[in-house]
């Protein structure tokens, strides 16, 4: 089965470290990531050099954060479906054709494919940096401090929590199957897991109910307490602003040129 479904849950995307990226206040990272991704998305696809700069910025932050290249590449696998789709576009899109290795491809389609591939991989790298250096509760707290309505943050908190439980429950069921000599390594061997999906959902739902009861009995009234007190250090905003500022400069240059 796919990596990551081994019972560790989504709360464990964080790669522990003490890099300057890890230490930035989470709200600055959230805003910075969001702004950077927007700039990348708005960059005109014809300006290939601009994507080179964007990628260089993203990669240098990966290096600064000390994230292992292997892990980043493995997590980038989530965009493979988009890339596959992008690769099909030049074959099916219409318009002016150009000859590549004896095959007629749509010029517009090629640009489209490049556009999706470049933006998806740079954007995904940015989110991977955020999720590998910021824990889920930190992100949720950041959203609260950024004045995202509490109801929304609570819903997201629960979603993450239940997703965690679901993955955890799946991990346990898989363990108990493995203990009985079932060794599901590949998707096509997953039938017993698939057929027990019903049981999985019921069990997860009931556990979720019990967790909710445990929260209520400890005075939960619908909003997570904000357990950290310190205000956002001003220097963090300045440091976190660097990547999106570079991206914005590149974007402006790319649009003007």
């Amino acid at each position: 089965m796919a990596g990551g479904l081994d019972g560790r849950g989504v709360g464990h995307l964080v790669i522990h470290g003490h890099s300057p990226v890890h230490r930035l206040a989470p709200e600055t990272k959230v805003v910075s990531t969001f702004a950077f991704v927007i700039c990348v998305a708005l960059t005109p696809r014809e300006q290939m050099w601009a994507f080179g700069v964007h990628a260089a910025v993203a990669l240098s932050i990966v290096a600064l954060a000390g994230l292992p290249a292997r892990v980043v590449l493995a997590r980038l696998a989530v965009i493979i479906p988009f890339l596959t789709f992008a690769a099909l576009v030049p074959f099916v899109a219409g318009g002016e054709e150009i000859e590549v290795l004896g095959i007629g491809l749509s010029r517009d389609g090629l640009w489209g494919a490049w556009n999706v591939a470049a933006k998806a991989s740079i954007g995904a790298t940015a989110s991977i940096i955020l999720s590998a250096t910021t824990s889920v509760p930190e992100i949720l707290r950041a959203l609260t401090r950024l004045r995202v309505p509490k109801v929304l943050v609570s819903i997201m908190a629960f979603m993450m929590r239940y997703l965690d439980l679901l993955v955890d429950q799946l991990g346990r069921m898989r363990t108990s199957m493995t203990a009985r000599c079932h060794d599901p390594r590949w998707l096509w061997q997953a039938k017993p897991i698939a057929s027990s999906a019903g049981a999985l959902f019921v069990r997860s739902y009931e556990r979720g109910e019990r967790v909710h009861q445990a929260m209520l009995s400890r005075g939960f009234t619908g909003t997570m307490p904000d357990l950290e007190e310190q205000a956002t250090p001003g220097g963090d905003w300045a440091r976190a602003a660097l990547p999106p500022v570079v991206a914005l400069a590149v974007l402006l240059a790319a649009v003007m040129l």
Binding site: V211, Q213, G219, E229
Partner: protein, 247 residues
Amino acid sequence: MSCTTIQVADLRFTYPGAHDSVLDGLSVSIGEGERVALLGPNGSGKTTFVLHLNGLLSLQSGTIRIGDLDMTDANLPEIRRRVGAVFQDADDQLFMQSVRDDVSFGPANLGVPRGDLDGVVERALDQVGAMPLIDRTPHHLSGGEKRRVAIATVLAMEPHALVLDEPTSGLDPVGRRELAELLAGLPQTQLVVTHDLPFALQTCPRSMIVSGGKVVADGPTREVLADAELLAANRLELPYGFDVSAL
């Protein structure tokens, strides 16, 4: 009236959609500072009762009073502050990403100022001997460690009464003895739900047996456990070779 007594009269409860009632006229009265064991076979309704004491299942019939408070929606926050429940499965109780955050959750909800939280958390963890676990992920603790942290999450709220559902499950003999000592050293009124009869004898001067949703025996633990017929009739059994009269 003291604020720690637990008075339950004629409690009846049927799970929605189920046919048979789980609690069928359960009445219990526990005085301030008492430590009472609640014994009973699997499925006798013990956990259902525990959930009622924290207002987590809505009252269908009967009354529950915690000290001078009736179980009503308006009194729920105060009742939950007074009665700390430690649940049967510690995985349900621990839901934050670090032990520190988990133990802070209750007191933070009660409005303990942030500056005081660290002290409260450390005191609670210290009480259960789990201070070294403070920065760990609850997810990855052993069963016994989870149990201690779960108890700390409740102690941090400084409840007047503790209700513990199967606190010894998953503990090794030393952990079990340490838990017994911990409970004996706490000033709170305690209701200990357990199948572990020697543990009940060790920690609770008084025991009740619940069967079929009502209390069928109530008395000094030693006498209750000495009644072999009563135990057998309720699917309870002392461990092999254990002799109450010899103690």
